[in-house]
Amino acid sequence: MRKDEMFDTPKKKVALDVTNLDNFVYDMDHCIKCKGCYWVEHTYMPGVEFSVRCPSNLWNDFDSYGAFGKMRIGLAVNEGKLKWTDKLLEVIYADPLCGACDVGCKRNLDLEIGLSLEALRIKAVKDGAGPMPAHKKIAKNIAAKHNQFGSPHENRKKWITKDVQVAEKADVVYFVGCSGSYVNPEIARATARVLNASGRKFMLLPDEWCCGNTLYSVGMIDEARELAKRNIEAVRATGAKTLVTSCAEGYRMWKVDYPKLLNIATSDLGFNVVHLIEVADEAMKKGDLKLTKPVDVRFTYHDSCGVSRLCDPWTPWSGERGWMGTVSPALKRRRGTTGLYAQSRNILNAIPGAKFVEMPRKRENAFCCGAGRGTKEAFPDLASFSAKHRLDEVKSVSAEVLVSACPWCKSNFSQAVKENGDNVKVMDIAEIISAAVEL
């Protein structure tokens, strides 16, 4: 290219650092309202039904609830043109940060929508406006009881039953998480059984604390960072080489947000972070895990956000932006391509006697259950709406069972099923694998 045809654009420093919203001004002001964040990717568009992938903007139709509206709002907040109000906080927080918008945008534009939304919440907290009252309660619970439900800390290992073998010392540590420990012990037990059946010896942390997913997600970054440091040190102290989760939210937190909080790469954690899906898939391929017991159901699978579009590993990046918005050094964008899409389906297609059917919105286009990242606590109506909308899709493919890979999804869907009086059973992937294993 001829130099006289190019501006000599001054370079600006920029970093993928969510503690400063300024880093995402370029992303916010280059949103073009194509609504790639809102619609199911057009190649996969199933028709007029189930055509949307954004829970927030389907729950509330005003543009402000879509990422394209929030990008404009983010700029106005950053420039001090929009004051924090209850409505503004609702717009910012009535959102499960499910990442559908982020992968949608990165189909064509590569704007950092997800990070912009996280940075906006962090700014809300810094400005003294956020988070929502329900989130503050969770923060108190975590500070006092080390779990987000405020349950007695001493009950954390109550999920363990006699048929589950937990090692004193192993290369693998199973991080159960608050939900598995207190609300969905059946998922923790099923996970342990699958690990046992796979011959994967595992231990637990001597004193497991909350992962801090909600704290980070609502912008309480200082509190989340302290938990990250504490938990990482706790795992390193065990000498474990691998950390397994059965919670998609926890998986994302460990694999992506802890490194982000500490400005390190996922590979610098000092141990691998994997979800049970990966363990089971690998064990099946090696012949260590055999699914032989027939499970006579027609079921479908919901890609939980944390094991799909949100789980690309984290690498810190800082550099400069110059001519035509190009950046240097090279930036490998996180586009949600390394989600556990294939691994989960390898497993599900191997369940004997069962019929696995896909929903119209799948993988990176999946419609979030609406529970995660502080949404269910602060906006239960949105969480319920999203789950019921997704259940309509489950019913559209005549599935008897809905399988997901996250206790938050399971709880939220189960509650919606109960409220609807639906004839759909909700299971975790650990449970359906466990059901197919001869013990």
Binding site: M1, M45, F62, V91
Partner: protein, 536 residues
């Protein structure tokens, strides 16, 4: 900013409290820019503002009520379907009501008679999928799979598929239009209460109120429902494959197939398009800008510039591709026949077949228009014409010449003449010229270029889309009329005497020139001292 309380209360009664808001956080979400189609330019900065309130009707009746309330309380309003079409579809005056039409999302398909009936909030890609489920297809407009089908059809409404499917006004069937004062007009066969199978009305064809070449930008009312013609397609499924961003439709190659040919010259390229049309084969015949191929190859913006940086004026000058979509509408044998004919044409003209992926990433179900912003951050299809095939190519070249003067801020593109293709089996040639820039730079040159294109078209006698409300009316009206502008203003005055519907369109670009100091040196045409419209 907000609208009068009495008007707000009346609107709230019409739609319910859940579907109206004047909260600043809600209104801010409806800001036009700074990014987007034509955004980041002077027009967006000078002529647009956030709404005073936003209302979301569900039905045509609610739209009528809203419009009548606006007339009663003199609240200016703008209809808005998806907001994708940049500043033009956003509020232009203070305390304006934005009528967000996304909840008008009704959809019906008539499989037997080949049409769909859609509301203003229905976009293209779901329509295409529903049509394909029933053995039919529509156009995915160049504006993108995400464009409201109604908004697109009353504005643009074409794509490479127009080679076979035809021009938009032929596909607009029965239509419901809420006039600026709230009166309902039913067009075509709907006028006598019949099914919406036919577009022409029993009297004068009122579709002219919706669009001419490229539409009136929402200043003559609100289309709430439209029947759109579909056409028969082949029955094999087109299967989505891949994980974003690398997704595509896998094509059943015996029934649907893209084929690329490298032609030896511009003349051979045009001749090939003409002959393909004459033989009445193919579903699409097009030539796209070379930089689109670079976009398709690149994994990211930085890689695009690496790839594009290797191109020269010479490579652009010698890029004579013809891209043909073959469709076996009726059978594999028909497809084979088409391919044989195509190969005969290409052999005669020296076309060499190039390897082509057995998939479609755009046009059939997904127009990747959003990808146009990847390279520079800002983009607009500055102009398009429908002429003869040979004339269409000259249009692009004249634009490329003018563009050099404004590069930078425009993207260096080595004189690429843009996109051209066959419409209606080669009876028309279509040319579209696209420009790209970075909105963070000084964009004065882009504003100037935009205006200069109108003057160039007048000089070169190109009949273009940038007439009427798309450029200063007093610049283009006298040159193309000679009284085109006067008639347009008479129509506006007759149907919207208060100028309550999206003011100051159709004089918005005239107003822009008056307000933007940096545009004044370019004003060399006559206009009234005071523009003939009410001030809002």
């Amino acid at each position: 900013m907000s609208i009068q309380k009495q008007a707000y209360n009346a609107l709230e009664a019409a739609v319910g409290a859940k579907y109206i808001s004047d909260d600043p956080a809600i209104c801010e979400g409806y800001r036009s820019g700074p990014g987007g189609y034509e955004s980041g330019l002077g027009y967006e900065r000078v002529m647009t503002t956030i709404p005073g309130a936003v209302v979301m009707p569900k039905t045509t009746e609610e739209v009528q009520k809203i419009v009548k309330i606006c007339n009663r309380y003199k609240v200016p309003y703008v209809p808005y379907s998806t907001g994708f079409y940049g500043p033009r579809s956003h509020c232009h005056v203070e305390n304006e009501l934005l009528i967000d039409l996304k909840r008008l999302n009704s959809f019906e398909i008539d499989e037997k008679h080949f049409y769909v009936v859609v509301g203003s909030g229905v976009i293209y890609s779901p329509i295409q999928q529903e049509a394909m489920n029933k053995g039919a297809y529509v156009i995915i407009g160049g504006g993108g799979a995400q464009a409201s089908a109604i908004a697109n059809l009353i504005g643009d409404g074409w794509s490479p598929l127009s080679h076979r499917i035809g021009l938009p006004h032929r596909r607009i069937l029965g239509t419901e239009l809420v006039l600026p004062d709230g009166e309902l007009v039913k067009m075509g066969s709907l006028a006598d209460g019949s099914d919406p199978f036919w577009g022409d009305g029993p009297g004068p064809d009122l579709r002219g109120l919706l669009r001419g070449f490229t539409g009136l930008r929402g200043c003559l009312g609100i289309v709430t429902k439209m029947a759109i013609k579909t056409l028969p397609f082949q029955p094999e499924p087109l299967v989505p494959t891949g994980i974003a961003p690398n997704t595509a439709l896998a094509l059943p190659e015996k029934r649907v197939k893209w084929v690329n040919f490298q032609m030896p010259s511009k003349a051979a390229q045009v001749k090939a398009m003409f002959e393909i049309g004459k033989a009445e084969i193919a579903g699409a015949v097009t030539k796209v800008p070379l930089f689109w191929r670079a976009i398709a190859k690149a994994e990211c913006k930085e890689e695009f510039w690496e790839i594009w940086g290797k191109e020269t004026e010479e490579t652009i000058k010698n890029f004579f591709i013809v891209r043909v979509l073959l469709i076996g509408y009726t059978s594999e044998e028909q497809m084979q026949y088409d391919e044989n004919v195509l190969n005969d044409i290409m052999t005669e003209l020296g076309g060499i077949a190039r390897p082509t992926k057995p998939s479609d990433e755009s046009w059939i179900k997904n127009a990747d228009s959003a990808g146009m912003w990847l390279m520079c951050g800002s983009y607009v299809s500055v102009d398009y014409i429908i002429e003869s095939l040979s004339q269409a190519t000259q249009h692009g070249e004249s634009y490329a010449d003018l563009k050099r003067k404004y590069t930078p801020p425009l993207m260096p593109d080595n004189g690429d003449p843009g996109w051209f293709q066959s419409f209606e089996l080669g009876h028309q040639g279509y040319s579209e010229f696209l420009v790209y820039w970075d909105q963070d730079e000084d964009t004065t040159g882009v504003d100037h270029f935009y205006l200069e294109t109108a003057k160039m078209n007048i000089k070169e006698r190109f009949y273009t889309s940038l007439l009427g409300p798309h450029q200063p009316l007093y610049l283009t009206g006298p040159m193309y009329g000679p009284n085109y502008h006067e008639w347009l203003l008479k129509v506006k005055d007759e149907f919207d005497p208060l100028w309550i519907c999206h003011p100051p369109v159709p004089l918005a670009h005239d107003e822009f020139i008056e307000r933007a100091e940096w545009m004044k040196p370019l004003k060399d045409w006559e206009s009234p001292k005071k523009l003939p419209m009410p001030k809002w």
